[in-house]
């Protein structure tokens, strides 16, 4: 069933969208039927800038397993990267 549940993460940074680089302030995260990925359900993330009206987005649709893998790798990359920068 289509789910209306959306988790909103406040983020700070940039993403490259249809018109080039843009500022982003929000990641809308949901687990539902994808639009493109050949999966029953996908973890969708839409990076948008709500302050600018959220008219453009950078979107991904990931399998549940690969979304969890991404979460793990983000944490690993942050930990190792921050450690390396502290040592420099």
């Amino acid at each position: 069933m289509c789910s209306y549940i959306v988790e909103k993460a406040h983020v700070s940074g940039s993403a490259k969208g249809p018109s080039g680089w843009m500022r982003i302030d929000t990641a809308n995260v949901y687990f539902d039927h994808p639009y493109h990925a050949p999966l029953d359900h996908a973890l969708g993330i839409d990076f948008v800038c709500e302050a600018d009206g959220a008219r453009e987005r950078v979107a991904v649709e990931l399998s549940a397993a690969s979304a969890r893998e991404l979460v793990t790798k983000i944490m690993v990359a942050l930990a190792s990267g921050e450690a390396a920068h502290r040592a420099a």
């Binding site: 069933m1 289509c2 789910s3 209306y4 959306v6 909103k8 809308n28 949901y30 539902d32 039927h33 994808p34 639009y35 493109h36 050949p38 999966l39 029953d40 969708g44 839409d46 948008v48 959220a54 008219r55 453009e56 987005r57 979107a59």
Partner: protein
Amino acid sequence: MSYEGLTGETVGFRGHQGDLGEAYYARPMHAGKCPGVVVIHHLPGWDEWIIEVVRKFAHHGYAAISPHLYFRSGPGSPDDIGARVRAAGGVPDEQVVGDVKGAMAFLRGESNSNGKVGLIGFCSGGRHAYLCACRIPNVDAVVDCWGGNVVVDDKSQLNDKRPVAPIGLTDQLRCPLLGLFGNDDENPNVDQVNRTEAELKRLGKNYEFHRYDNAGHAFFNVMRVAYRPEQAADGWKKVFAFYQKHLAA
């Protein structure tokens, strides 16, 4: 073999509160009268598969229209518009009812109309179809394809946009209902489908339910891994037999 041909195109229609929206409309090219069907898309949006469904109905002799229920959040591609609507928590039921009424009026206003109009919806559109058949008095037949949240067990899911569970409106259903469901679906699950059927039976409604083994959600959708060809082929036969019975002039 008789001559076959159809025309499909994007058209304007007047939706809720007279708002001008876009819809995909397809109809047979023959000169005779034909029944109409309003095709209601699922939450991710007005996608290519739903357009194919409209053309399928036209191929089978129906004038069919799928209103883009998210047109107010455009412009943009249907997937981007769908993402905006999702982030905003979906569209209000009241607005959907108004848009479906408008799409029905479009079909009945066409010179090819035999006056009969049915609804069909998939997924959240199945819920919308059930809701609209209860709320709109002149629907002639309705098909609910695995509409989730017709039964709402978690009352926190009810809000200003979706204030009632459609099952609570069943006493207002005036037309025959066909329901198609996969037994592996989680929403609606088997228990929820059984409870919907029990309510229809209790109220003496004209309905038929068909449940399919080895099928889950969206098993008609050839663009999804959920597609189940045997169950879908049988389901489509059920849909066309139901509409032939209730929408033919």
